[in-house]
Symmetry: C2
Subunit: 142 residues, 2 copies
DNA sequence: ACCAATAGTGGGTTTCGACCTACAATATAC
DNA sequence: GTATATTGTAGGTCGAAACCCACTATTGGT
């Protein structure tokens, strides 16, 4: 009685959507405990991995609206995790960078994300996990 | 410059969430063209696969709120895809069933979903697609 | 010097899924 | 037969993501 309709579960898009929602909500729940949303770690990760960005560049990289980046950065700045300094070469731009505290916060968040990963992949053997990651990567990259 | 942060893409939950969102939005876009949402096919599929349900049973099976089921059925009824008849054994219950027109509509929707599947899995070889489906199934079932 | 384009900001709206509460009709327990 | 529980219904709220427009400061082209 609690089974889902096979007509749906036969479709990869349905399963992906379902598993994706589950992944998303678990990560979001962890973040919500600290009053954070999904874009906060995304922005921190972009800064940590690629160095300072103009806000416009962050928006382009992460597929966010420029005005939403402003709001997220307001909050990250308030926590001392990022800082905005005027780009002297182009005073319209803000050079956004991550702080040491920001890196620390990010590593904590990513550790929690790794735990979610483990939970999600629990039904798979180690070999299968590696396979799955590889295939998923291909799909997500496209 | 358009690359995503490796710190994120290293995590299965991030990739799943991203791929799931993509799957979800593609299917939703197809449905939106007919003014439908994701629950409409879910309900039709449940009825087609398992036969008539009370509304409460539909809600339980699909993890929907009972009041949302009411609204969805109002719309499905209006299209002639489902019908509600009082259960004579328990006159509180509505026996919800799918109509012939409903089955036809469902098969059209599922065909579109299959096309989305093909799009999503395009980067994989046929063998990899089968592997991926199998692994994804395990994850989604848990 | 002037005009068009660009970067950031503030203040919105819209959409969707999830949820919640009150209520009428009906069934079940005692 | 009366109290309690359940089914469907109506009419909301709420949070999150995505998007959009108007505005200021600044730059670059000519």
């Amino acid at each position: 009685m609690h089974d889902l309709p096979p007509s749906l579960t036969a479709h990869a898009s349905y399963l992906l959507s379902k598993a994706g929602k589950s992944a998303r909500s678990r990560v979001a729940a962890d973040l919500a405990a600290d009053d954070l949303r999904l874009w906060h770690p995304a922005i921190l990760a972009a800064l940590a991995d690629f160095g300072p960005h103009a806000q416009r560049e962050l928006a382009a990289r992460l597929n966010l609206d420029a005005s939403d980046v402003v709001k997220a950065l307001d909050e990250l700045d308030a926590r001392g995790w990022t800082e905005r300094t005027r780009d002297p070469a182009d005073r319209r731009r803000h050079r956004v960078d991550i702080t040491a505290a920001g890196r620390l916060a990010l590593s904590g968040i990513l550790a929690a994300t790794s735990r979610v990963d483990d939970e999600l992949l629990k039904p798979l053997s180690p070999r299968q996990r590696e396979q799955f990651r590889r295939l998923l990567r291909k799909i997500a990259d496209a």
